[in-house]
């Protein structure tokens, strides 16, 4: 849909009309204002077959053959209502989009809820050009569906209009709608290998801090927290059935790193990629790091949350598609 570089005049008109008719929302309940319906390819083929059958009925002057053709045509007409009914009243809610690295598939979670007794069969959801998901909502009131969208650039990924369609029950008609879900996923820069971009004098400043978690001297256990270095997990205890525990090490000489945008070489995206790589690398080693970007600074810290903060900064740095 948005793959064309410059949408033509009528595409813009259509886009505007669609926006008015189906505005962006967190949650969309499908009704007759939003649902479009047209014969599917199989349906057009079916109509062609009906035409041939009608000619046979005329040429053989067989009233029962006429009746069969009329019955099948009636079935086709009735299927319009049933196919429409298989979308109408379906409520689609945007749950969340998970962060990803540029170039990978971003994962989105949507929730389908029914607002009526009857179930829904074989609903297909997907963004154009992306893999689609197919699910039914029969016994459950609510179903969660995971959708994926390719991410190309860092920043916020807004996947655009989501195609929701169904051909159930006969496959002869396709009912569909384009909904603009208010959903987004954060795309981090793609990690790039490069020299460590350390700013000068970075290590001395906080070097005298008291005991800091590190990797030199063991000083105790604590319950495992997500983001702890897996090499420090006490696997022996876990194998005995105890909860996951991490070893804690005391560190007298704190290794703290300042990653700096200015210390990188190359263009902006390349620098951000290298920074991203080092954020991941330092966090994996459990080290303390901070981040200097032009106009923004992230204070020293370590662990998973620090990583998220840093990656978010990198993702949104001077991003045209930022918040």
């Amino acid at each position: 849909m948005s793959t064309l570089a410059r949408p033509s005049w009528w595409q813009q008109r259509f886009e505007r009309w669609l926006k008015r008719r189906i505005p962006a929302a967190r949650s969309v309940t499908l009704d007759q204002r939003r649902i479009f319906i047209f014969p599917s390819r199989a349906g057009l083929f079916f109509l062609g077959a009906l035409a041939v059958m009608l000619i046979a009925a005329i040429n053989y002057q067989s009233n029962m053959a006429f009746a069969l053709v009329f019955f099948l045509f009636g079935l086709f007409v009735i299927a319009i209502l049933h196919t429409y009914g298989n979308l109408s009243g379906l409520c689609i809610e945007a749950l969340r989009g998970y962060p990803t690295f540029a170039g990978e598939m971003a994962e989105f979670e949507l929730q389908l809820r029914r607002t009526r007794e009857r179930g829904y069969h074989a609903i297909e959801l997907g963004w154009p050009g992306e893999p689609s998901a197919r699910l039914s909502l029969l016994d459950a009131q609510v179903a969660t569906v995971k959708l994926f969208h390719r991410s190309r650039r860092r920043g916020w990924l807004r996947p655009g209009r989501l195609l929701v369609q169904t051909v159930y029950p006969l496959g002869l008609l396709r009912a569909w709608t384009w909904i603009d879900l208010d959903i987004a996923a954060l795309v981090y820069p793609r990690p790039l290998l490069g020299p460590r971009p350390l700013s000068e004098g970075g290590t001395a400043e906080h070097g005298t801090r008291a005991l800091k978690k590190g990797s030199d001297d063991f000083y105790g256990f604590r319950a495992y927290r997500s983001g702890d270095n897996l090499r420090h997990v006490l696997w022996r205890a876990y194998a005995k059935g105890q909860p996951l525990q991490s070893k804690q090490f005391a560190e007298t000489q704190v290794q703290s790193h300042w990653l700096s945008y200015d210390a990188c070489a190359g263009d902006r995206e390349h620098r951000l990629g290298v920074l991203c790589h080092w954020v991941l690398e330092l966090e994996r080693k459990g080290e303390v790091f901070g981040l200097h970007l032009p106009g923004a600074t992230l204070a020293l810290d370590s662990g998973g949350e620090q990583r998220e903060r840093a990656l978010r900064m990198l993702a949104l740095f001077q991003s045209a598609r930022g918040l």
Partner: protein, 664 residues
């Protein structure tokens, strides 16, 4: 979009069932090997379905297709024609199911299936067949639905149930279209069904042929008279005029099939009172029709021949209805064409039945008057020891001689044949007429039912100043046959002796007879109003409905009726939600409550749970205690299991509280 393109397993089950139901009625018309091929490929497909065997390879498929093409060619000698086409269609259907794996192939297969269902109606349109065909069509539709459903964990009737519901909703549209759709004339000539070996009147008659025919209790036609039904003895349904004789077999003369108007542009008008009737003929695969004397063609698809018979313009391959008029008192062909006169007088060869010829010449010398001679011959049949029987002795080379002077036991064809032979030998133009005589009146419908056992042969002789006059020598021998039918004439032992279970043999069993007549009345209605719904009938019904038949009214009926049907179905499907999504009552009340709070400056943030929202509002407006109560009410209605009474009570409370003035 990438959808799972494979046929779901349960859909295959429905497809296999549909195939069985579809092909079953065709089996009797198909060569035996197709049924075998079907059984084997169905077994193969089931084994593939169960994961035991694999799909046939490309080579096997090509071999199968070639073999079946050759088989059809061998069986029918051609690919053109209805039967070979249907055979081809069914083989395609059978082999396509064997290889079908993707959804696209399933569509093709199902549409092919609908087409196979249609071809059944090109052969048969009886009520029984039509009722039966509901089964395969429903199964096909169930397969189509199953194709789009997720695989259920256990077998489910659901696809069939949905197919049933949708079909029921489609039926009113079918009726409307059936009523209104104009029955256009065929667009081009199509090969008609051949009919195969059927019992019925043939265009040649040897000794014993009609006796054989009268062993069948099949219906030939029904006739509905617009006035009173004439007496049984006057119901001579002329079908064929047989005037060529080779000493044993009588044959029709093709020359007689010429339309009368082609030879005589203005034939003399018939005189006397007219009988109006309509005939509903079962398929005969022949062109000749049955009509009372002297006929006049009324329906445009019929014509009057040179020898005053009715002929259909096309072979009757389907139930066929025609109107006709008869002038019983009228005379016809007062002037005999000299060429015709020669042929009617022909007695093949002098060494043919010499005793009968000599006898006839003797009569000629005794009687100068033709009429007197004929009367004498009729009296001869009546007074000598002739017997009317369905089981006459076999006759040799001079069949007429043997019958007239030795055996004297015969069925109507023996009497008609020898009568005509004697007249011809005496120089009187005469011919055999084959058709049906009499019929049974169904008191429920007032129609005359004519069965194969009413088959009869009689004679016509040409007399100066009177034209062709009917003579029935059988009447002289067995008047009951003519006055009350074959059963009375031959007795219960001989009647339908080869069909011991025929319902027609049990006419004396009162309740059985009532059922038989009731079934016949239903079939008559079906044929009269449904199978033959076209031309006059259509115009009549539409005029009853609309008052006047014009394109505007027809269009209005179609559009208005269609819209009404679709609207009714939509109402049934969506109920009150037709005009937008209708929320449950508690959600509506709660939404109203949220909207009021929003107006007061506390809009509910998206995705904030009701409980949280209430706490958030109360933190800022602690005096609005009712917010808590409303929320508790709403949550109870939404999430707790309640009895109907409790629910009703809570709903009323919520409605009242949501209107509360406390925070307004």
């Amino acid at each position: 979009m990438a959808t799972p393109a494979w046929i779901p397993r349960h859909c295959l089950g429905w497809l296999l069932a549909a195939q069985v139901a579809l092909i079953a009625p065709h089996v009797s018309r198909l060569p035996l090997w197709i049924s075998f091929a079907w059984a084997i490929s169905a077994l193969w497909r089931v084994q593939v379905y169960r994961g035991h065997w694999s799909f046939p390879g490309k080579l096997v498929k090509v071999a199968l297709v070639c073999a079946s093409l050759a088989g059809i060619r061998f069986n029918y000698g051609t690919f053109v024609g209805l039967e070979p086409t249907v055979a081809l269609l069914i083989t395609c259907f059978v082999f396509k199911l064997l290889e079908a794996a993707t959804r696209r192939e399933a569509y093709l297969l199902l549409f092919l299936g609908y087409f196979v269902a249609l071809t059944e109606f090109l052969f048969e349109q009886g009520l029984g067949v039509v009722l039966y065909m509901i089964v395969p069509v429903l199964l096909l539709t169930a397969a189509l639905i199953a194709l789009h459903q997720d695989e259920p964990l256990r077998f489910s009737w659901q696809p069939l149930r949905i197919a049933g519901v949708m079909s029921a909703q489609a039926v009113p549209l079918l009726l409307l279209l059936f009523l209104v759709f104009p029955r256009i004339a065929p667009l081009w000539q199509v090969p008609l069904p051949g009919g195969g070996a059927r019992t019925g009147m043939s265009d040649e008659m040897g000794p014993g042929d009609i006796a054989q025919l009268s062993q069948s209790d099949a219906l030939v036609f029904r006739a509905a008279f617009s006035g009173a039904v004439p007496a049984q003895r006057d119901l001579y349904w002329r079908g064929l005029v047989l005037d060529k004789f080779d000493g044993r077999v009588w044959r029709a003369n093709d020359f007689n099939d010429m339309p009368l108007r082609q030879v005589h542009p203005s034939p003399p008008a018939a005189t006397g009172a007219a009988l109006e009737y309509e005939v509903f003929l079962e398929p005969t695969y022949r062109r000749w029709l049955y009509a009372l004397q002297v006929p006049e063609a009324v329906s445009p698809a019929t014509l009057l021949t040179l020898d005053y018979r009715l002929l259909a313009k096309e072979p009757v391959t389907d139930k066929f209805a025609y109107r006709a008029r008869a002038y019983p008192q009228s005379m016809f062909e007062l002037e005999l064409d000299p060429r015709l006169r020669r042929s009617e007088l022909t007695v093949a060869g002098a060494n043919n039945n010499p005793r009968a010829q000599a006898w006839a010449q003797g009569l000629r010398e005794r009687f100068a008057n033709d009429r007197a001679l004929i009367d004498f011959v009729v009296a001869y049949f009546r007074e000598q020891q002739f017997f009317y029987t369905l089981q006459p002795p076999l006759l040799g080379e001079h069949s007429i001689d043997e019958f007239l002077f030795d055996t004297r036991r015969g069925f109507c064809e023996h009497y008609a044949s020898s009568f005509v032979f004697v007249l011809r030998a005496a120089g009187i133009p005469a011919r055999v007429v084959a058709g049906y005589q009499g019929g049974e009146i169904n008191p429920l419908t007032g129609t005359v039912l004519v069965h194969q056992f009413d088959a009869h042969a009689w004679a016509e002789a040409w007399l100066e100043g009177q034209g062709w006059v009917r003579f029935d020598p059988t009447f002289a021998v067995a008047p009951q046959r003519i006055e009350s039918g074959l059963e009375r004439a031959v007795g219960a032992n001989e009647f339908l002796a080869q069909q011991p279970l025929s319902v027609n043999r049990f006419r004396d069993v009162n309740w059985l007879n009532r059922i038989r007549l009731r079934v016949d009345a239903i079939n008559y209605g079906w044929t009269r109003w449904v199978v033959n719904y076209r031309d006059d009938t259509q115009t009549f019904v539409l005029r009853e409905l609309l008052g006047e038949v014009d394109p505007l009214r027809m269009g209005m009926l179609l559009v208005g009726g269609g819209a009404l049907i679709i609207f009714a179905v939509a109402c049934a499907l969506f109920g009150r939600r037709l005009f937008g999504v209708r929320l449950a009552a508690e959600q509506r009340y709660y939404a109203r409550f949220c909207a009021r709070l929003a107006r007061r400056g506390y809009p509910r943030p998206v995705a904030m749970a009701p409980g949280e929202y209430a706490r958030w509002v109360l933190r800022q407006q602690p005096q609005w205690r009712v917010v808590e109560e409303i929320t508790a009410c709403f949550e109870a209605l939404s999430y707790r299991r309640l009895s109907a009474a409790q629910r009703e009570q809570l709903l009323r409370k919520l409605k009242r509280l949501a209107r509360s003035r406390e925070f307004a």
